[in-house]
Assembly symmetry: C2
Homo-oligomer: 198 residues x 2
Amino acid sequence: MPDAPLDDLIGLLARLPGLGPRSARRAALALVRKRRVLLEPLAAAMADVAEHARECLICGNIGTSERCDICTDPKRDPTTLCVVESVADLWAMERAQVFRGRYHVMGGTLSALDGIGPEDLNLPRMAQRIADDSVTEVILALGATVDGQTTAHYIADMLEDRGIPVTSLAQGVPVGGELDYLDDGTITAALSARRQMR
Amino acid sequence: MPDAPLDDLIGLLARLPGLGPRSARRAALALVRKRRVLLEPLAAAMADVAEHARECLICGNIGTSERCDICTDPKRDPTTLCVVESVADLWAMERAQVFRGRYHVMGGTLSALDGIGPEDLNLPRMAQRIADDSVTEVILALGATVDGQTTAHYIADMLEDRGIPVTSLAQGVPVGGELDYLDDGTITAALSARRQMR
Ligand SMILES: [Zn+2]
Ligand SMILES: [Zn+2]
């Protein structure tokens, strides 16, 4: 059995998403073996994040100040608002390096199963931003799940009388995806959204 | 894109075994969300382990002092020595709560592929302990892999002239294992080590 401090570390590591008890033990041993190059820097990085990370008051992104780098970037178009479920999804969009507007993080999706209603999402702030920033398009970049699509329809209905386009990401075959590996729903969506090529 | 401190944290988390870039990002977000209950305790636990964890000078286990809890426990029989590849394997043996002797951590196995020879393992110290503690049985609890078994045979040969039993863990069907899910090698080993039941 590991000694007490190591046991505490393993118990905490096992609470991270993606790490079970077994991988937490392996991670803890790797940390002890790589004390100078991994354990000490990681402890310092965590202390740093604990002290400095905070939620952007405008969009809900995680940054180090009250307004995140995206919300304060004058080169990002404030009139195009991309609505995402989570900060992880915001990062995924940013990695694609294709969107130059601003974001709004909902903090989840509507979910009857999990008892998440409209009042649990960051909706009033979104409505406020759309008015304040004279938003001309709202892009709903929500997951192609039942809850994601329910949320997308809810927001589209909510914004109906604003008179601005509300769009959503296309569903279809992922780039590099082989049809053989796709579920029926994706193939159905890709077929019904088929585009004319010539 | 995450801000700099969070980016550092994600980069370090991604170097843990079992965490790729994607799960490192998810883990970092979970840490930020659970600052008080997860991030701060984890940073503290890591600092604690960085300061206190050390290798037992006798057996190679990880503990908080020069001699680990097992090596200093008078109730553990020093004349039965269980040889394991790694500290993770020592912990696995301890979880089974069935062995009451002491351990010796080799720090790996012989591996032609990885260029690991006898001089890279903790062998001289093992030989010394066998003599000093009047060891009466050496149990080789090494993996049922080619390298593990090569190492077991090497150690058995090395200890041939000591005149003490050198045993190894039985190979066979794991408890709860269904034959349908086992590889051929395990079935072969289980069959050749079959036991008479009546
Ligand atoms: Zn922001
Ligand atoms: Zn020890």
